[in-house]
């Protein structure tokens, strides 16, 4: 396992664009998080993040994992290029001739995805602990370490998304097509969600359409990833105005959401392997 990880990291690290993207994907979210957490006091304008409570434990886990996961796009590009480059340079063939098996080829890419997701999760954990310990109103251990399932969700969200990128790129071989397909698929998922929610049960009560759309769309590959960590803004708003019951929603990480994402990830990796195995290079 370490040998395969070592081989793949060597390829990535010596590639300038991959290296820049990986560094950016770490540096950017951390910088932004620290900038937003700075108290600004200019006399007439006063911004104190601790007053908003977004950095309060345990809410900070939800808030930080959600915003950090936006930066997964940087590594998604790396994940796509690590397959498309092998096709471009015809090094996939050469690696196999040199004695790497097709299984090892897929595993080496998957291990890098796991390693990146793990490091990124640890990074978000450390960042949240630091920011939280400065700004959180509550710092008792029992409160600090509640809702840690958001970190698990964050890890799975990254692994799932990158595995999806890996599979799609292996399928179409070209990075541009791969990015196009991912964008189109996500549009299709949102459109079909909207259709199920507002068109299918048009003349009936709102909850029926909502439940139907949520029930079906939770199985969509990209939607299932999105569902893992839902956007925290509405939750934040309802905390301020709890009487606004129209917005009641379960924001916690659900076990079936985790299961769906794990099944998709396993499927993407397995299909990638099958695809490569069947293909003549």
């Amino acid at each position: 396992m370490l040998r395969l990880l070592n081989i793949e990291l060597f390829k990535l690290w010596n590639n300038k664009s991959s290296r820049v993207l990986i560094i950016l994907s770490f540096v950017l979210p951390f910088t932004i998080a620290f900038i937003t957490s700075i108290k600004i006091d200019l006399g007439f304008i006063r911004l104190d993040p601790s007053e908003y409570g977004i950095f309060n434990f345990p809410f900070i886990w939800h808030w930080n994992t959600y915003f950090a996961s936006i930066f997964k796009m940087f590594f998604a590009l790396v994940a796509i290029s690590m397959i498309s480059n092998e096709y471009n340079y015809r090094t996939l063939k050469q690696n196999l001739i040199d004695g790497l098996s097709k299984k090892e080829m897929i595993l080496s890419k998957f291990y890098v995805i796991l390693a990146y997701a793990l490091v990124s999760t640890v990074g978000v954990f450390i960042m949240s602990i630091i920011i939280g310990s400065i700004y959180s109103t509550y710092t008792e251990a029992s409160i600090v370490f509640t809702d840690l399932e958001y970190l698990l969700a964050y890890f799975l969200k990254l692994v799932g998304f990158f595995s999806f990128c890996l599979f799609i790129t292996l399928l179409v071989k070209r990075s541009v097509f791969s990015i196009g397909i991912i964008i189109i698929l996500s549009a299709i998922e949102w459109i079909s969600y909207a259709y199920m929610r507002w068109e299918v049960y048009e003349n009936q009560a709102q909850e029926i359409g909502y439940n139907f759309a949520e029930g079906i769309s939770q199985f969509f590959p990209l939607m299932s990833l999105y569902n893992l960590i839902e956007q925290p803004m509405v939750r934040y708003a309802t905390r301020i105005n709890p009487e606004d019951i129209g917005l009641i929603h379960d924001y916690t990480v659900q076990w079936q959401e985790i299961l769906i994402v794990i099944v998709w990830t396993a499927l993407f990796i397995f299909l990638s392997y099958r695809l490569l195995k069947k293909r003549d290079l």
Partner: protein, 300 residues
């Protein structure tokens, strides 16, 4: 006792309706230099692709060495270059070879040793994309040699190179062969195979036409090219003589193919006894090229 390195049994590969390799069997033994010869599209690269784990076979089987190892592990003891040299353009020669070392499990000190052999040591820190085609091909050979392979497989190694590049590559191949490394060389260039190889497998449209020693492939006893003033008498004599099987007459040049071995001086003596004076006498053996064309023509 000959040690088999690669054994292929009844190997078949179909691409849809096209059969690229048909029921192919042969064995590569240690210490020989083999050529796979055939026109473009005869299934050479497909055959190599199958044994090198990048093309899936349709039928038949093959195994490396004694057959106890998985293909990808066996390939760690093989060095192979197929088609164009494939490396990461953004890495230097040294970094590319480091990666191959990691894949094959070879110590890193081999890198300089092999770059020296192909004369690229002074360019080792330069990026692969700055290399000329000849240098790329030489780097590919260095890469294939990293693990001191049991067998070196080369597919059209001189394709697209300039005369100087071709000469360099052939010299490197000869040096490697002289060290006792088994070599399998696929080529459509006959003189390349003739110059370098001791054994040959001839393919045409995916089928094996011949496999064995190069000198045994040229199995005939050769032929005489003759000119004489008394041409008609010479032709009559050749037709009645049991040593000759076939005559070819082009203008005043007569080509007589031998059925039995016969030296030029014996023949000259015979002619002299019969009172025929020859103005031109050359004994030749068919080249691999003529033999090859004869083999491939027979099936048309």
């Amino acid at each position: 006792m000959e040690q088999p390195i690669l054994t292929i049994n009844n190997l078949t590969k179909k691409f849809g309706a096209l059969t690229a390799v048909k029921d192919l069997s042969f064995t590569i033994n240690k210490g020989n230099v083999y050529g796979i010869l055939g026109p473009n599209g005869s299934g050479k690269s497909t055959t190599l692709g199958i044994v090198l784990n990048v093309v899936n076979k349709t039928n038949g089987d093959f195994h490396w060495f004694d057959g106890t190892m998985s293909t990808h592990n066996a390939l760690k003891q093989v060095g192979a270059i197929i088609e164009r040299p494939n490396f990461y353009p953004y890495m230097s020669a040294e970094q590319n070879l480091k990666l191959v070392c990691k894949i094959k499990g070879v110590p890193l000190y081999k890198i300089d040793e092999k770059l020296e052999i192909v004369g690229l040591l002074d360019r080792k820190y330069h990026k692969f994309k700055t290399y000329s085609l000849g240098m790329k091909q030489r780097l590919a050979i260095a890469s294939a040699l990293l693990n001191d392979p049991e067998i070196l497989i080369l597919d059209e190694p001189t394709n697209g190179l300039d005369p100087q590049g071709i000469h360099q590559i052939r010299q490197i191949i000869k040096d490697i062969a002289a060290d006792g490394t088994t070599i399998l060389l696929a080529s459509h260039l006959l003189d390349e195979v003739e110059k370098v190889c001791s054994h040959v497998v001839v393919l045409r449209k995916g089928e094996k036409l011949y496999s064995g020693r190069v000198d045994e492939m040229i199995s005939s006893h050769g032929f005489f090219e003759l000119k004489a003033d008394q041409q008609d008498e010479l032709i009559t004599l050749l037709k009645t003589h049991s040593n000759f099987s076939k005559l070819k007459i082009e203008d005043d040049l007569i080509t007589a193919f031998l059925e039995e071995p016969m030296s030029a001086s014996d023949f000259n003596k015979l002619m002299f006894e019969k009172g025929i004076t020859l103005s031109h006498l050359v004994k030749r053996k068919e080249s691999l090229e003529e033999q090859f064309l004869k083999l491939t023509d027979n099936l048309n």
